[in-house]
Symmetry: C2
């Protein structure tokens, strides 16, 4: 993202989970922005830095709880997804897996979701941590979307499934969805 006194520009790729996280944050905070589509070769997890910058500069609504224990839980969940799951199934890694691509992605996501499901059983209310939308939720929804793309069986993850469904009903998660972006190919449009 390029920030200026004027409207910020988001360099975005419709299907990137990193771009999507940032789009949700922008929508939640009500920040208008322009999109410059970028067809990513490399789909890293780094864009959480943008979300923290948005939190620092536009603290309302909060995406990190004030309660320190809850803050730590939010970060633990977000980091688990952003560092523990997403990098293992990104484009550059999958390319190197050749035929084993699908199986590799499924295993990475399943193993990450097993741990996540257990964590959420202790932290979740309506959303990942209690009843307020947080950075953890911004990370969850794009990761579940990836899981569905790779046809991961979501049966063993009822808590993840329930929270994902509740989040997808929120306006910020709808407008930022990969099926509705300027660079979404026609066949993938909602």
């Amino acid at each position: 993202m390029s920030s200026a006194a004027a409207k910020p520009i988001l360099y975005s790729y419709f299907r990137s989970s990193c771009s999507w996280r940032v789009r949700i944050a922008l929508a939640l905070k009500g920040i208008a922005y322009d999109v410059v589509p970028v067809n990513l070769l490399k789909d890293g997890g780094q864009q959480l830095a943008i979300i923290h910058y948005l939190e620092d500069t536009c603290p309302n609504p909060r995406l990190l709880p004030q309660d320190l224990k809850k803050r730590a839980q939010v970060r633990m969940i977000a980091d688990h997804i952003v560092s523990g799951i997403q990098p293992l199934q990104n484009l550059s890694i999958l390319k190197q897996m050749g035929e084993k691509k699908m199986e590799w992605a499924q295993n990475c996501i399943a193993s990450g979701f097993q741990a996540l499901e257990q964590t959420l059983q202790h932290t979740a209310g309506r959303y990942c941590v209690g009843d307020e939308v947080s950075m953890a939720d911004l990370c969850l929804v794009p990761q579940v979307f990836n899981a569905e793309r790779f046809k991961v069986d979501m049966g063993p993850y009822p808590t993840i499934t329930r929270i994902n469904k509740a989040l997808l009903e929120l306006e910020a998660f709808k407008v930022s969805h990969p099926s509705l972006q300027p660079d979404t190919p026609a066949e993938l449009r909602a």
Copy 2:
């Protein structure tokens, strides 16, 4: 880490870059702690949540700059290492690579360091971002240690090499070093 009113306990593995990052933060903030060694099967990147918790509860010395642009730079660098490099060369991934283990780790680290070297040329002073030690530095040193373990040629990364050397002269980076932990095997002790 388990926090209580009493001395915190760090569940640590001497060689884990995640544990090391936390040990540096604890040393910088002068927080006394007990170590319970854990021989990690899975070496995720999640432990950055602990560092943020330490920053929230013990803000001196700061590990995130007050200046918002510098904060974003610190997070960008930390996230690049924690999400973009480290997860690709952790234990559970390397196990699956079999004979290609060394080559895989070298390629992941080299490709990450190429991007990092360029970023640092814009952000670095004595350390990763300006002249103050930050979360970015906590992430850099353990990653360079991993690079050396995997015999990555550090020649193309003079800025990374220079900053790493300056950091290793600091007490907090020395006492937290993998060669000096309670669970360090005798043959790897400093």
